[in-house]
């Protein structure tokens, strides 16, 4: 195991790349807002919104929070929490549905 604390900037994007990533995020946000005004099937709209939200979430976590470049243990800690959260939300919805039926 290396002695160096993993807080160095090696491999991090340049400021120009950060601006490009932010521009992509802004475009996705505009697309999210625009798409809800189109007359599309609700299931399709919700699927597209979930995909776009997931892409934005991942881009911020990977590039701005540097998970793509940092030690994998940080990713496990964070995405472990995210997966657990999704599980809790789905479990709660399932419990309430079964209690209501």
């Amino acid at each position: 195991m290396g002695a160096q604390i993993h807080t160095n900037k090696e491999g991090h994007p340049t400021p120009q790349k950060y601006v490009i990533i932010a521009a992509i995020l802004a475009v996705i946000t505009m697309a999210e807002v625009a798409i809800v005004y189109f007359n599309l099937a609700t299931a399709f709209l919700i699927t597209i919104l979930i995909i776009m939200t997931t892409v934005k979430f991942s881009m911020v976590a990977m590039f701005f929070m540097h998970l793509k470049f940092d030690n994998k243990l940080f990713s496990y800690l964070f995405f472990g929490g995210v997966v657990l959260t999704i599980g809790v939300i789905l479990a709660l919805i399932a419990i309430f549905k079964s209690a209501g039926s």
């Binding site: 919104l49 979930i50 995210v82 999704i86 709660l92 919805i93």
Partner: protein, 204 residues
């Protein structure tokens, strides 16, 4: 055992990772569960209010989109502040920290105006229906997180202004940045789950 000190003046750990950074990631992972429970509660009671006002009557999606955009851009200024201190650019650090705090404050101002408008013009409050309760609790706690973030950023700005944030201490800025980006990604989810799904074409 001889203790090796890294460039960051912290003792080497068994994992080779800084404990403070590990703690921050563990905190963010657990904070996901906090917001997850609030989002789950909002979703469970969505459409269950027996009296108005209802979400589609009060939400102004273009207005909230601008707030979402402001918070998204604050993530850019935050990461630019970190990049600045990593290359020893003190002026850049101060400029981008202040810009991030300013964008966070604009977001909070927008949320204050939105809440005030809902209460005064739409008659929506914490207690008049399930939507009001779950909406204000969820977005209010997010606003509280943003407020804490702005205080942290302004504290670092004052420290940087006094020349007390050196290039070797960039981890402190990185940790503040991780918290700030987390606040941003939580809003990315809330914006979709709470606001966009109430758009006319979806609720119809």
């Amino acid at each position: 055992m001889a203790q090796v000190v890294s460039h960051n003046d912290h003792p080497t750990t068994t994992t080779g990772l800084d404990h403070r950074k590990m703690l921050m990631w563990a905190f963010l992972g657990s904070d996901c569960l906090f917001f997850g429970s609030l989002i789950a509660t909002y979703l469970l009671y969505r459409g269950k209010s027996i009296t108005g006002p209802y979400p589609h009557e009060v939400f102004n999606i273009p207005y909230t989109s601008i707030s979402a955009f402001v918070l998204l851009m604050s993530s850019l200024t935050m990461v630019l502040a970190l990049a600045a201190i990593q290359r020893g650019d003190q002026r850049g650090l101060k400029v981008w920290l202040l810009a991030t705090a300013l964008l966070g404050t604009i977001f909070l101002g927008g949320q204050y105006f939105e809440f005030t408008f809902f209460v005064e013009h739409n008659g929506l409050n914490l207690t008049n229906n399930l939507f009001g309760t779950t909406f204000f609790i969820l977005t209010g706690f997010h606003g509280l997180h943003v407020t804490v973030g702005v205080i942290i950023l302004l504290s670092f700005f004052v420290m940087a202004w006094r020349g007390r944030v050196s290039q070797t201490q960039h981890l402190n800025i990185e940790l503040a940045g991780l918290y700030w980006h987390f606040v941003d990604i939580v809003w990315i989810v809330i914006f979709t789950v709470v606001y966009l799904v109430e758009a006319p074409n979806i609720i119809g």
